[in-house]
Symmetry: C2
Subunit: 433 residues, 2 copies
């Protein structure tokens, strides 16, 4: 079986292969170079690259397979300081495993993928094969492992909640309607209502899954579908406990990357963010003052977030900053108010390198507070009956947060467009590939 | 911070608490019992149950909090062989953290949840709090960890692919249409096309995520939305390599359960399935003979699967059985035919305790084979352009499988209806809670 196939050597294992032994590699032809007296194939597999040297006597009548063709090659491990890993394959026998591949629209063997974003996205199945492109997603996968590892160790339970819902979760806007057996359902904008209900069951829950936003805006930081990393936990004192958890999770995600993706980091030349032992926190009102915005401003504009990011960097040496106390009128109805002044909330945004990355906070947990909050919006609690039944039947003080995976990744590698780090982005204009 | 809050003791930690010390527990009132001279509260937190004893002098004017009310209680750890864990809390001071809870429609403190399935499902936020109910999902969470651990260790990369797609993946039927910015998108029936394309990038990929089937049938084993555990890998010889991987994954899932969910297993009285060192394999044609079905039968009926399950159990002492070689005409177009007889396929179903749990197999990997297969169905390859570009640009021989999480869980605990193990099921009739 290939998982443990003793007959196959990975490209990066070649450096540990005793010189002179015959080994078999399998992968795509990454590059073909034909010189006058010698030819080279660079083979690419999931581990990396390996060099194959062909003398005229090694060439078959069909010639050398072209780039992206998939081959099996058996050859002699031979030391060569100029080959990747210091060992190359000589006297190779090559067997194609695919038909001759069509030449890709971009040259995957060049160190930098030289193509416009639309070309990269339109040809995703091929362009993700570029080692630098692939390295981006490796950081995503390592981040996910770090996220789960941190929460598993803290007694959290993984949950999976429905993406088809009967009503709109957070606000009336930006939802996708679905024809659900003849009636209208909606795609969930977040697992918010479900994860709260499940705090009453498991106390600490997390979910990694898609969320859907019918964003009518075409921006470099919004997607119509993205991966949300949600956590929610009970028996907190206030939103500061949620922020402490978030801090541990971010540290865990970076540890995941450091431990497993050193090569991807090097390839992308990424400097990991500085996250101090305590995340700096500033109140919304102080944040407005700091950026010189009027006191009655209801939200932070992107320029404000960037200025705050600069400030956190300079003043605290930190790539992250929490802004707490956002105005209640701008937060969803389940937000817990600041106990000493109910104009403000026990919620926060985490700003990561000048861009909002996470929204979190304490939620209401008393049934009567929910009834008042919903009626205060002129709505009927009946519309929320299933959700409210959790609170009617006793819920602990609780809170949580949601991290957008692609946004995390985008800021991590300082991409100029979130689509650069999304496997198959979905937006106002794009539904393929 | 509550994650490491030194001021809080979990219910199951009480047994290790030195007698006489004052500790604080937090949780729901699981049961209240008022006797003539003494009262008891059973507190439930994420770890388990703890007993609190109240003498008349411990009672406040408001009386005892009712079931499901959330409390913080500080008391003296006191040995009592009859209490859970051998230690109970005496001389308690109780502080409610929620308002008095409404009495649940079902008695959560009874060892067995005594309610009809509709009642259980309609009141999911509350009924999942029942320890036996909750234990079911704990097996799901442990299975997921085992799934990922096995694949992470084998060099797989986790991916997340779009659930909004522009065309139907597998067949024209049973898809949910979505109003996508004024045009029609569909909810993905599987990540099949994407995971194959990503084999060209990462060689070995897995995804855990929702899939959507507009199943017009109301059965005990179908859902409109479920969690699919998908894996796909390159450089296989044939479907038998996929089956070997599946075997390792199932063993890993059971190890996850054994290692982390012993208590849940005990509570549910689950006998873990017998999975032998090699999964027994029978060809479709031999399976038909074995169950006495006509040789031209295109598929196995549920009764056939049950009979085969019995046979595997009796003949091989196995709870799993792979049926390979399903007729090509019943398999999707990307299925690889059996090399020596193209009426049959290099695909399999895994039957787990008499029910199909997994579909897997080898896929086509040559571009020209795809063109022929699609044209053979009377369709135009143009409709599959983005998908086909992966094959046009070279793909290794590959294959994979998909496990339905809820179906796995359902057969694992031998539930009579898949809805019993689904957090918030979605079906022909049900879109709430």
């Amino acid at each position: 079986m290939s998982i443990t196939d003793p007959a196959r050597t990975l490209a990066t294992q070649l450096s540990e292969t005793p010189p002179g032994s015959r080994v078999t590699l399998m992968g795509h032809v990454h590059r073909r170079r034909e010189l006058a007296k010698v030819s080279f194939l660079i083979l690419r597999d999931r581990s990396g690259l390996a060099q194959i040297v062909l003398r005229p006597e090694d060439l078959s009548a069909e010639g050398l397979p072209g780039e992206e063709t998939v081959i099996r090659v058996t050859g002699t491990a031979t030391a060569n300081a100029h080959a990747p890993g210091g060992v190359e394959l000589t006297s190779p026998e090559i067997e194609p495993l695919s038909e001759p591949a069509r030449t890709p629209v971009v040259e995957l063997w060049r160190p930098v993928l030289d193509a416009s974003l639309p070309t990269v996205l339109d040809n995703a199945a091929v362009t993700w094969r570029h080692p630098a492109q692939r390295a981006k997603w490796e950081l995503a996968a390592a981040s996910l492992r770090g996220f789960r590892r941190t929460l598993d160790a803290a007694g959290f339970t993984e949950v999976h909640t429905p993406k088809l819902v009967d009503a709109v979760t957070e606000s009336g806007a930006n939802v996708f309607p679905v024809d659900y057996f003849g009636r209208t359902a909606y795609l969930a904008q977040s697992p918010q209502f479900f994860k709260q209900q499940l705090v009453g069951v498991f106390e600490r829950v997390y979910e990694v899954g898609p969320v859907f936003r019918a964003e009518p805006h075409d921006t470099v930081r919004h997607l119509a579908e993205y991966v949300s990393l949600d956590a929610e936990l009970g028996f907190i004192r206030d939103h500061r406990d949620v922020l402490t958890l978030l801090h541990q999770v971010l540290v865990g995600m970076l540890e995941g990357i450091r431990a497993e993706s050193g090569e991807a980091l090097d390839r992308l030349d990424v400097a990991l963010p500085a996250i101090p032992d305590e995340i700096p926190v500033i109140h919304f009102l102080d944040a407005l003052k700091l950026v010189g915005a009027p006191e009655d401003e209801p939200d932070l504009a992107p320029a404000h977030e960037r200025a705050l990011g600069e400030w956190a960097r300079e003043k605290h040496g930190s790539d992250v900053l929490a802004v707490e106390g956002y105005p209640m009128r701008k937060r969803p109805f389940y937000t817990h108010p600041q106990p000493d002044d109910s104009r403000w909330s026990n919620s926060f945004d985490l700003i990561f390198r000048g861009l909002e990355l996470v929204t979190g906070g304490q939620r209401l947990h008393r049934y009567s507070d929910y009834i008042a909050a919903i009626e205060g919006r002129g709505e009927s609690p009946d519309a929320y009956a299933a959700y409210l039944s959790a609170f009617e039947h006793g819920m602990p003080p609780h809170g949580g947060f949601a991290i957008g995976l692609e946004r995390w990744l985008s800021r991590l590698i300082e991409a100029s467009n979130i689509r650069e780090v999304t496997l198959f982005p979905r937006d106002l204009h794009r539904l393929t590939p």
